[in-house]
């Protein structure tokens, strides 16, 4: 308990850093963030029989079936313990990922509707976003059925629909509340929260995965 108090009360003479805001008055989510605790789901999805079977099959063949082992993207729900970076502009927020495929997601805030014409099924889907007060709400559809929901092989279908609610409750933390819905694979949505810690002295490093190991990355 003493430790908790020490951690939450600033040292004498120091003001706690307030939540930063952009010139437009929105909460500024910019920063480098690392997940606090496990990167796996805190609970199991309420899988329908076929999805349950697929999960069992993936668990029995973790290395062989893992898309990440073949340098393929993690998708949206599955994250790594490596840092992520948010770059925020009024109409576009970019989530950069150090690990897995060293790639990015784009959250469109310009009011556009979902558009799956170009990429009807992709690893990271189509993400549109809006502000609900100080919460950034990101709505993503248009997934393929190939990514996993975490490292333990949890599958999903192309009906996956992910809603992420991003909050910065204090300077040093990012809280993301997830609603993961998949009517073809789950009997009810999976709802959970992840907390990320600010990594103020860390930026993303280069991280790449080699195609069949043909080209030396080192």
């Amino acid at each position: 308990m003493a430790l908790l108090i020490t951690a939450s009360v600033p040292a004498c003479g120091q003001e706690p850093k307030s939540i930063p805001r952009t010139a437009g008055g929105k909460v500024d989510l910019s920063g480098v963030w690392i997940v606090n605790g496990s990167n796996n789901l805190p609970a199991d999805p309420a899988y329908l029989p076929d999805a349950k079977k697929k999960w069992a099959e993936n668990k029995a063949n973790l290395t062989k079936n893992d898309p990440a082992a073949a340098c393929l993207p993690n998708g949206v729900v599955r994250i790594t313990k490596l840092p992520y970076k948010i770059v925020q502009t009024p109409k576009l927020i970019v989530l950069l990922s150090e690990g897995n495929t060293h790639s990015y997601r784009r959250f469109f805030l310009d009011g556009r509707p979902h558009n799956l014409d170009l990429d009807p099924e992709s690893w990271t889907g189509d993400s549109i976003a809006h502000w609900d007060g100080d919460t950034l709400v990101v709505d993503t559809i248009g997934f393929n059925d190939k990514s996993w929901l975490d490292d333990t092989g949890k599958p999903h279908s192309e009906a996956l629909h992910v809603i992420e609610r991003y909050d910065r409750p204090d300077f040093n933390h990012l809280q993301v509340r997830y609603t993961v819905e998949d009517k073809k694979a789950m009997s009810k949505p999976l709802i959970f929260t992840r907390v990320f810690n600010l990594a103020p002295n860390r930026d993303l490093k280069e991280y790449f995965c080699a195609y069949k190991g043909l080209v030396s990355l080192k």
């Binding site: 073949a70 950069l96 495929t101 060293h102 170009l118 992709s122 280069e206 195609y211």
Partner: protein, 262 residues
Amino acid sequence: MCKISQSQWLAAAILVCLCQTTGAQAQGRPGSTSRFPGAERPTSAPPPGPAGPLPRTPDGKPDLSGIWNGQRPLPHQPEPDLLPWAAKIAKQRVENYSADDPEARCVPGGVPRSTPYHTEFVQTPKLVLMLFEGNIHSFRQIFLDRTEHFKVKDLWYGDSIGHWDGDTLVVDTVGFNDRFWFGMSGEPHTTQLHVIERYHRRDYGNMDIQITIDDPGALAKPWVFNRVSTLETQIEMTEYVCNENNLDPSHLVGDSKFGDSK
């Protein structure tokens, strides 16, 4: 998504070449081997992008944000003054139809390699992002909040710092590995590589790009050339995943050391 690999793009370029100019010969450097289409130097400038005024950010800088088409080479640009060892390797690579190109194996294309795919610029006062559609769906960060390079080495995209010179964004990058190629014409480089890119958004739809490649390990003098890019206003970027069903190497016709070409 269903992706078009660089070699499929190349195949399309070859088709266009065969249909349109049956008598055309590849224009090699004097004393050098003929170039295959794709490693060819252009004979005319690409068509311009959409007209309109240059957008600016609230702080008055040119706003480079937007989706830009793949950087296109311009005609009559200087050739690199390669040191003998580097010239020998470039010649071998061209003669081998760039079959060993690492980029076809889904590793980053490095700097300043251009691709046929889009790049989205995302600009903030302290950071500019380049989000790549392909060759791999990755990104570069250009830091405008520091003037010194980090002590890094062996990177595909290096460490990039930027500053504004009037209306031109100047990007200075070091800390490279020596594994990527500058393009299908196969010029090699060393870890002494130092790249300076000057991005000038001339108007709404056109970006002039001047590139200086300095590498005392491979070049007798810095190689300076110009490219252009045009704003893409019609379509969004797609999720290009090189490692998904990558057919590129199997379309390469040279003798690949990786054993995966035709």
